[in-house]
C-alpha cells in the first residue's frame, strides 16, 4: 500500500506533538500546585494513537489504552493539548460540561474506567448503537496487555463476535502490566491468537512503526466499516519507564528498556521519512518548535483553568439523597 504523502506528514507532525506532550506531562506533574493525579505516561508508545487517529472519521468512537494513553486523545478533532493537561490535573473541562475525564459522545469518547477493562462493554454498546442507528461509525477500543486478560474484555469480544458489531479491539502490548511481564501472564507468544477464540481476524504489528501500524489499522477499519465485523490488532511496543514515578523497576532485566528505546517510534519514523525524502532537517526542527510552542501554551492555559467549585459539583452530581 502506498500511504499518501500528506498522511505521512500529518502523522509525523502528530507524532512529534505526541512526544512533546509526553515530555510536557512530566513537567506539569513536577510543577507545584498543578494537582496532577499521578503520572503514568505513554513515552515511547505514541505511535499507536497517532496511527489510529489517522484512520478515524469524525464520530467514530475511540478509547486509547487505559492507564497512560488518554492524553493523546488531543490528536482527535475537537480536542486540544490543553484539554489533555487539564484533564490530568482535574481541572474544569468544558468538554464534559464540568470537569475532569474526557467524555464527549459527539466527539467520539464515552469515558474510561479506572477499574481497568470495565469500559470495554460500554464501547461495545457504542458499536451496537451505531449499528442500530444505521450509522457507519466504527469503534476502536484499546487496552493494555495486562488488562486484556480481564473478564470484561472477554465478554465484550463474545458479543461483538456474535453480533458482528463494528468494533476493533486493540491491545497495546508494552510488555508489562505494572511489574508483571507478559511472559508470565500469557502462555501464548502472539497475543493476537486471542481472536481465534471468537472467530474474527487478528493480527500483531510493530507498534513502534508508524507506517506498519497505519496500514494494518487501515485494513481493519475499512473491513469493519463495510460490515465485516470485529477485529483484533495487537501493537507490540514497550513501556520504557516505570509504571509510575515511584516504581523501582526491580522486576525488569537490566538494559531491557535501553534496548527497546533504540526502537522508539519517533526517531525511526523520522529517519524513514528522511530516507524517503519526505522531510528534511529543517522540517524536523520546525515541527518540534511548533509542537513545543503548542505544548507550552497548552500547559499554561490548562493550569489557568479553575477547579470546579465544590457546590457546583455537588449540585451537578444531582444529589438525590
Amino acid at each position: 500500500m502506498e500511504i499518501p504523502k500528506e498522511k505521512l506528514l500529518e502523522m509525523y507532525r502528530n507524532l512529534v506533538r505526541a512526544r512533546i506532550l509526553s515530555e510536557k506531562l512530566y513537567e506539569v506533574f513536577t510543577t507545584e500546585g498543578s494537582m496532577m493525579q499521578g503520572l503514568h505516561r505513554g513515552l515511547g508508545e505514541e505511535a499507536i494513537p497517532v496511527a489510529v487517529c489517522a484512520n478515524l472519521k469524525k464520530g467514530d468512537y475511540y478509547k486509547p489504552s487505559g492507564v497512560r494513553m488518554h492524553p493523546y486523545l488531543f490528536l482527535r478533532e475537537g480536542f486540544t493539548m490543553r484539554d489533555s493537561i487539564a484533564s490530568e490535573c482535574g481541572r474544569d473541562l468544558e468538554k464534559v460540561g464540568g470537569h475532569q475525564t474526557y467524555v464527549s459522545p459527539e466527539l467520539g469518547i464515552i469515558g474510561k474506567s479506572g477499574v481497568l477493562g470495565e469500559d470495554a462493554p460500554m464501547y461495545v454498546g457504542a458499536a451496537l448503537s451505531a449499528m442500530v442507528r444505521k450509522s457507519d461509525q466504527i469503534t476502536i477500543y484499546t487496552c493494555g496487555d495486562g488488562t486484556a486478560n480481564r473478564a470484561p474484555l472477554h465478554e465484550s469480544m463474545v458479543v461483538a463476535a456474535a453480533w458482528k458489531l463494528p468494533i476493533i479491539f486493540m491491545i497495546e502490548n508494552n510488555q508489562y502490566g505494572m511489574g508483571t511481564s507478559v511472559k508470565k501472564s500469557y502462555a501464548i507468544e502472539d497475543l493476537s491468537d486471542r481472536a481465534k477464540a471468537y472467530g474474527f481476524p487478528g493480527q500483531s504489528v510493530d507498534g513502534n512503526d508508524v507506517m506498519a501500524l497505519y496500514e494494518v489499522i487501515k485494513e481493519y477499519t475499512e473491513r469493519t466499516r463495510s460490515g465485516g465485523g470485529p477485529g483484533l490488532i495487537v501493537a507490540e511496543t514497550y513501556r520504557v519507564e516505570g509504571h509510575m514515578v515511584s516504581d523501582t523497576q526491580l522486576y525488569r532485566p537490566k538494559g531491557e528498556s535501553a534496548e527497546w528505546w533504540k526502537k522508539e517510534p519517533l526517531a525511526r519514523y523520522q529517519k524513514s521519512l528522511m530516507d524517503m525524502g519526505i522531510i528534511t532537517d529543517k522540517d524536523v526542527t520546525e515541527a518540534e518548535k511548533e509542537a513545543r510552542a503548542e505544548a507550552d501554551k497548552a500547559g499554561e492555559d490548562a493550569l489557568a483553568i479553575p477547579f470546579l467549585e465544590y457546590e457546583d459539583y455537588i449540585k451537578s452530581a444531582l444529589d438525590v439523597l
Binding site: 460540561g97 475525564t101 462493554p121 454498546g125 442507528r133 438525590v320
Partner: protein
C-alpha cells in the same frame, strides 16, 4: 387478552409499559438473555419481538457484564436501552458495571449528558431457589451514588413506574418481584399514566402503627394488616415504591399520626435498607423518637444465606404471621 378486559397482572402491566414506551420512542431498545427465545425469565417480553423486530430487541449470549456495560454505552450514544437480567442475583456478576460504571462514573467524570438506561431485574425470594438466585440486593444499590431504585408492589405501580423509568434521563434499576407476576389481576386505566419516583403510597390507612415496606413484602404486610384489623389493631401501610429517591416525608407524616414504626423487607436484616430508612426518619424528625409509643423495629430475612430448599427458604423470609406477631409485640 389483558388489552380487552383492562385487567392486568403485574407482568402484563410491565409488558404493556414496555410496549407503550417502545411504540412512543424508537430509541428505546432492549436486550438480555433469552428475551426473544423464551420471552425473558417469566414472559416479561412476550410479543415484543413480534411487534418491534430484531433491531429493537436482542437475545444476548450469557454475558451479564456485557449486558450492563452495553446498555451504558448505547445510552450515551443516542439510544435508550433496557438491559434485562433474568435474576437480580445476576447483577452480582456485573457489579462493577452496575455500581461503579452506571452508578458512579458519570459523576466521577463530570459528564452532564443523559444516561437513559433501565436495568430490569427479577427478584425471586421465597420459592426455595436459594441465595444464588433469590438475593434481593437493593441495599447494595441504595449505597451507590447515582442510581435510582424502583421496587413496585402492584400492577398499577409496576406499569406507571416502568414508564417513568424508561423516560428518565438517568440510570434506573427496576426490580420486579416474581412472587407478584401472576397474582390477582388489577384494573388499570386505559389512558396513559406515569408514576413519579420518590412518592410513597399509603396502601392502607390506619392509626395504630406505621408499617413501611416495598415490593412483594407490601402484599404480606397488607395481609397481616387485614388480620390485625380483625383484632382491632389498625395498621397504616406505606409502600415506598422507590428507594432512591426515598419519600421520607410520607413516612414521617404517618408515624407522627400512629406513634409507631415497623420496617419490613425481604432482604437480609443486617445491613439492609431498614437502617437507611430509620436514619432518614430520625434526620427528618429528630424529636419524634422521643415521643413514640414503642421502639422502632425492623423485620427482615434472617442473617443467613437463603438455602436452596423449598421447605427451608420461605422460613428465612418474613411471613404474614411474623408480621402479625411483631406488630402485636409493639402495640
Amino acid at each position: 387478552m389483558a388489552e380487552e378486559t383492562r385487567l392486568f397482572t403485574y407482568i402484563d402491566a410491565i409488558n404493556s409499559a414496555y410496549r407503550e414506551e417502545m411504540q412512543r420512542d424508537e430509541r428505546v431498545i432492549m436486550f438480555g438473555e433469552d428475551v426473544i427465545s423464551m420471552q425473558g425469565s417469566a414472559r416479561e417480553t412476550t410479543g415484543i419481538f413480534e411487534q418491534f423486530g430484531p433491531d429493537r430487541i436482542k437475545d444476548t449470549p450469557i454475558v451479564e457484564e456485557a449486558i450492563v456495560g452495553m446498555a451504558m454505552g448505547a445510552g450515551m450514544t443516542g439510544l435508550r436501552p433496557i438491559g434485562f437480567l433474568m435474576f437480580a442475583s445476576l447483577m452480582m456478576c456485573a457489579f462493577d458495571q452496575v455500581w461503579l460504571k452506571l452508578g458512579c462514573n458519570r459523576q466521577e467524570w463530570g459528564y452532564r449528558g443523559p444516561l437513559p438506561v433501565v436495568l430490569h431485574c427479577m427478584v425471586i425470594g421465597g420459592t426455595g431457589i436459594g441465595m444464588d438466585h433469590a438475593v434481593s440486593p437493593e441495599a447494595l444499590l441504595v449505597h451507590c451514588p447515582g442510581l435510582k431504585i424502583v421496587m413496585p408492589s402492584t400492577a398499577y405501580d409496576a406499569k406507571g413506574l416502568m414508564k417513568t423509568a424508561i423516560r428518565d434521563d438517568e440510570p434506573v434499576v427496576y426490580f420486579s418481584h416474581r412472587g407478584l407476576y401472576f397474582g390477582e389481576k388489577e384494573a388499570i386505566p386505559s389512558e396513559e399514566y406515569l408514576i413519579p419516583f420518590g412518592k410513597a403510597d399509603v396502601k392502607r390507612e390506619g392509626k395504630d402503627i406505621t408499617i413501611v415496606s416495598y415490593s412483594a413484602m407490601v402484599r404480606k404486610v397488607l395481609a397481616a394488616a387485614e388480620e390485625l384489623g380483625k383484632e382491632g389493631i389498625n395498621a397504616e401501610v406505606v409502600d415506598l415504591r422507590s428507594l432512591v429517591p426515598m419519600d421520607i416525608d410520607t413516612v414521617v407524616k404517618s408515624v407522627k399520626k400512629t406513634g409507631r414504626l415497623l420496617i419490613v423487607h425481604e432482604a437480609m436484616k443486617r445491613g439492609g435498607v431498614a437502617g437507611e430508612i430509620v436514619f432518614r426518619f430520625m434526620e427528618a424528625a429528630p424529636d419524634a423518637v422521643k415521643t413514640m409509643k414503642s421502639p422502632i423495629k425492623r423485620l427482615a430475612a434472617k442473617n443467613v444465606a437463603l438455602i436452596r430448599s423449598r421447605k427451608m427458604e420461605p422460613l428465612l423470609i418474613p411471613q404474614i404471621q411474623d408480621i402479625v406477631e411483631t406488630v402485636k409485640g409493639m402495640v
